[in-house]
């Protein structure tokens, strides 16, 4: 049993979970800031970004060390590769939270208007995706990750609906254009967070099952028998 190596993997898992917590918190704060037009929360999101960036570097460094020093194989190799990719996605989630906070800060100076978009509903769906993708990582369960993939279509639809209704609002009421544009960008940022949650779920499936499910990739058909028959 490679005890030190296993401790290294456990430590990497813990660090990624802390990073996941930070990214999830950033999205929740940004969404809450949008709903309440809360500038204090916006500043918390902006200030939290450096922490997420530092965590990303630490995790990459540790993963790199484990790859170089321990030469992992099979499930351990897949785990470390998945961690590095999830790490990158979580950092991007943090960036999207910052983008949302910046939109909210822009909107704070503008009059409040009624817009035909349900950002809180979309935010709830996206937060649930992030949470569940991280749960699938904690539990190491591909089924939980699979459920996240299915939720992505719902969020995509919400983004499309928001786009149509907000463009319509801009056409009909030019005076709300700036607020509608900010909301449109927030919807797009949320949709991107959902994409990152989807990526995380795909990486969990790769780690657990060794299967590449990105872009509906077909499973590799080659078997030993097939290879032998070609020679």
């Amino acid at each position: 049993m490679r005890t030190r190596f296993q401790q290294g993997l456990d430590d990497l898992r813990q660090r990624l979970l802390r990073m996941g917590g930070l990214a999830e918190q950033a999205v929740d704060r940004a969404c809450q800031a949008y709903i309440e037009r809360d500038l204090a929360r916006c500043h918390m999101v902006l200030e939290g970004e450096s922490q997420i960036n530092a965590a990303e570097r630490d995790i990459d460094e540790q993963a790199f060390d484990l790859l170089a020093m321990q030469q992992p194989m099979a499930v351990d190799l897949r785990f470390i590769l998945a961690v590095t990719k999830i790490n990158s996605d979580l950092e991007r989630v943090g960036d999207q939270a910052v983008n949302i906070a910046e939109r909210v800060m822009d909107m704070a100076d503008l009059p409040k208007v009624d817009l035909p978009v349900d950002i809180p509903r979309m935010a709830a769906a996206v937060s649930a995706m992030v949470r569940r993708s991280l749960e699938s990582f904690i539990e190491g369960k591909a089924e939980l990750a699979q459920a996240v993939l299915e939720m992505d279509n719902v969020v995509d639809r919400m983004r499309d609906e928001a786009f149509i209704s907000l463009v319509k609002a801009m056409n009909e009421r030019p005076e709300v254009t700036r607020q509608a544009l900010d909301s449109l960008l927030v919807a797009r940022n949320l949709e991107r967070v959902a994409d990152h949650a989807t990526n995380i779920a795909e990486d969990v499936i790769f780690w657990v099952r060794g299967a590449d499910v990105r872009h509906n990739a077909p499973q590799e058909p080659a078997t030993v028998q097939e290879i032998r028959e070609t020679h």
Binding site: M1, M73, A74, L77, V224, I227
Partner: protein
């Protein structure tokens, strides 16, 4: 050219102890197959059954079908004829210490009654070239003893000696375990090139080495072949939990 190896229902014993249990495996011609597993799992016994060397140990015996190309080696075929088709390289380089480098390579041919000096020169040069040793020894091959070479050179000399009799299959039992990383790299590069002409079976404890040189890998445990598959599958996503536990260092 190399030939395929087909093993069916191979069993081997040391006295009453069964070392191999019902091994079935097909190894593709002109490919390298790595055999991995913890100490005592039967991997060396397996390769020694492929050239009838297992039976040279007192009280050891083997049963089953092993076909090297069209030759069924457990079907009354003389062992010498089998070993002429199958070269073997061992863990520790074992050049004949009193012979020159040249004579080490020519030894197998001379034993078989081959004495055409000009032809011998050609074969020795060709074999040393194939073993990536020619450039280092071409000026001293007839003067210097095989034992005067470094460990890595000695191992390549042993490979040249095995190649000189033009086998179809090359068995390598942990050929790099006594070598430094530079020499190991040279042997691995050599294995890659030799695949074009020979079928290679390599026993190794070094899983990175297996993943670097072999297209296929078989995992042995307690005398059984647990899993045989493409090397990249074995090392990234093996089908059997026991294989995964071994290659990730959870046991063994």
């Amino acid at each position: 050219m190399g030939v395929g190896i087909q093993v069916e229902q191979l069993n081997a014993w040391f006295g009453k102890t069964q070392a191999l249990k019902n091994i079935n495996i097909k190894m593709a011609a002109n490919h390298a197959t790595a055999v991995i597993g913890p100490s005592g799992c039967g991997k060396s016994t397996f390769v020694r059954c492929l050239n009838r060397m297992h039976e040279t140990i007192p009280e050891a015996r083997a049963e089953g079908k092993v076909e090297i190309g069209d030759l069924n080696i457990y079907n009354g075929t003389p062992a010498v004829q089998v070993r002429r088709r199958i070269g073997m390289v061992f863990q520790k380089p074992n050049p004949f210490p009193t012979m020159s480098i040249y004579d080490n390579v020519a030894a197998g041919l001379k034993l078989n009654g081959f004495h055409d000096r000009k032809r011998l020169d050609e074969i020795v040069e060709k074999s040393l070239l194939a073993a990536a040793l020619w450039d280092e020894v071409k000026d001293t091959a007839k003067k210097k003893s095989g034992a005067s070479l470094s460990g890595g050179q000695q191992q390549r000399l042993c490979i040249a000696r095995a190649l000189a009799v033009e086998p179809q299959v090359l068995l390598m039992d942990e050929p790099c375990s006594a070598l430094d990383p530079i020499s190991t790299g040279k042997i691995e590069e050599l294995i890659f090139q030799l695949k074009e002409r020979f079928t290679i079976v390599i026993v190794t404890h070094n899983m990175q080495q297996a993943s670097r040189v072999a297209e296929f890998t078989g995992f042995f445990l307690l005398g059984s072949l647990i899993e045989f598959d493409k090397t990249e599958k074995i090392f990234t996503n093996p089908s059997d939990k026991r294989t995964e536990d071994y290659i990730t260092g959870r046991f063994g």
